[in-house]
């Protein structure tokens, strides 16, 4: 995830306009969620992954990213793959338990496969967007809608302080590790508890220090959103639109 953030600032598409990248990312996401065609979903997944590689994503980082996502996906799919019934049902494989029959049905497998494809297609769109567009640029774009500004201000501050908290957590963890804080399971549990408690305290102190430092620069409860001035490339926009339309139509063939 941290690599995605790094890539968002140092990628080959940083000179693409937000409109182009958002149309591609969000357009792909909408198609992934709304379409059931296997071909379309595979096209979206492979297309977005290819774009992410073209943006500069190293293969190793790409696998690590998916490695972090797949366990969550696998847990979700389990509930679809396995069926449970008190009575009997037709299954490819089943087992009797004290509470009833637990099994895997052909319909369940098919639905899980489709859901899996849909999920990886949608995630690949989000990865593309997150890996090519800095959070601050997306916030600046959203802040054009006035009512969204307060929410986006909080989101931006949160984004910045995630890194401060991560750094603090790493320092505390190292300090604990150097004094055998993680030498046994019991000590590890205690160390994690202390780490979490101290992070909370640190966050509170940081928030207070932040308010003082903002006041020192005449903070008036409004942050700055700077929208990057990048011209939309009409030709590229057209290519994106045509590609998405073609993928959309492929689902109906």
């Amino acid at each position: 995830m941290l690599y995605l953030d790094y890539l968002s600032h140092h990628n080959a598409f940083r000179h693409w306009s937000l409109l182009e990248k958002t149309l591609l990312g969000i357009g792909g996401l909408i198609l992934s969620v709304s379409m059931g065609s296997t071909v379309s979903l595979i096209l979206i997944f492979s297309g977005m992954s290819a774009l992410l590689f073209a943006a500069g994503m190293p293969t190793r980082q790409w696998f690590r990213l998916w490695g972090a996502m797949l366990p969550f996906l696998a847990v979700s799919l389990m509930t679809v793959i396995f069926s449970f019934s008190r009575g009997s049902f037709t299954a490819i494989w089943q087992i009797s338990t004290f509470f009833g029959q637990l099994g895997v049905t052909a319909a369940g497998l098919e639905m899980a496969g489709r859901l899996f494809l849909r999920a990886i297609a949608a995630l690949s769109c989000l990865f593309f967007l997150a890996g090519t567009t800095p959070v601050a640029h997306m916030a600046a774009w959203g802040a054009r809608v006035r009512v969204l500004r307060p929410v986006l201000e909080i989101a931006l501050l949160t984004y910045r302080f995630i890194f401060v908290v991560l750094e603090t957590a790493a320092q505390i963890y190292t300090a604990q590790q150097s004094r055998l804080g993680y030498s046994t399971l019991r000590r590890s549990m205690r160390s994690i508890r202390v780490l979490a408690a101290n992070l909370g305290r640190k966050s509170f102190l940081t928030a207070r220090a932040l308010f003082i430092s903002l006041s020192a620069r005449n903070y008036e409860e409004q942050l700055v959103f700077r929208y990057p001035q990048i011209t939309v490339n009409a030709k590229r926009l057209l290519v994106i639109f045509v590609s998405l339309t073609a993928i959309g139509l492929s689902g109906h063939i």
Partner: protein, 252 residues
């Protein structure tokens, strides 16, 4: 150096809680265009004093004056004061709040009422002064501590203050960071700005400061020409070490 005082404190005291004074009866004058070092042990009151200079805190008794006029703590008054007296915090991570360097630096100018284009221009000039213009679009969390320190200074410089107050700016800087930081200070001093820092680095204070004030338990216990203060024989009783240059000279 001009002898005109830019900031004056008259018997200023401040207490965070009843019964315990963080600043006690502080009187001093900061000459315009001078380089001033505040030294003293942790908890001596240096940071609290600096928050007073920027009008974040207000003394419970006594007075602060800017160019001979008492500090005005009204909303408009504090705005004006914070444009004139910029404060760079010790912990750069609590000062740098924006997602990228340029956004953070243009925060002050925007609060001064500049248009975005003008603020951006000012911010770029400040970043250029501290040698960070090339990293203007870089996210803050990718910077080294020395770079963050320079961005924090640029954020205050962009408001073009006459007085720049820096809380332990040399803390945690490596050799290169220190060299770059000294270059920035030299450039700022050449423009006539008054520079006030707190530091535990006596060798650096010896080399850099015109004036030094020693604080202990919320009081100014010594003050005057920096080299005279730092070379005192009774330095240990005031809680600071003598600079190496002085020690070497005594041994020789």
């Amino acid at each position: 150096m001009s002898s005109t005082s830019v900031i004056t404190l008259k018997n200023a005291s401040f207490g965070y809680r009843a019964g315990r004074l963080a600043l006690q009866d502080i009187s001093l004058e900061i000459p315009r265009g001078s380089r001033v070092a505040f030294i003293g042990p942790n908890g001596a009151g240096k940071s609290t004093l600096f928050l007073h200079l920027n009008a974040i805190l207000r003394p419970t008794s006594g007075q602060l004056l800017y160019e001979g006029s008492p500090y005005d703590y009204s909303r408009a008054g504090t705005h004006q004061l914070r444009r004139q007296v910029g404060l760079v915090f010790q912990d750069h991570d609590s000062q740098l709040f924006a997602a990228n360097v340029l956004d953070d630096v243009l925060f002050g100018p925007m609060n001064m009422g500049m248009s975005l284009a003008r603020a951006e221009e000012t911010a770029r000039e400040s970043l250029s002064t501290v040698g960070m213009l090339e990293l203007a679009d870089e996210p803050v969390h990718f910077l080294s501590p020395g770079q963050k320190k320079r961005v924090a200074i640029a954020g205050v410089l962009a408001m073009n203050p006459d007085v720049l107050v820096m809380d332990e700016p040399t803390a945690g800087l490596d050799y290169t960071g220190m060299v770059n930081f000294e270059l920035v200070l030299t450039a700022l001093h050449a423009t006539g700005k008054t520079l006030i820092v707190s530091t535990h680095d006596m060798d650096w204070a010896w080399k850099w400061a015109d004036l030094a004030f020693v604080m202990a338990e919320g009081r100014i216990v010594l003050g005057g020409e920096a080299r005279g203060i730092l070379a005192r024989d009774d330095h240990a009783s005031y809680g600071f070490a003598r600079p190496c240059a002085v020690e070497r000279r005594i041994k020789e």
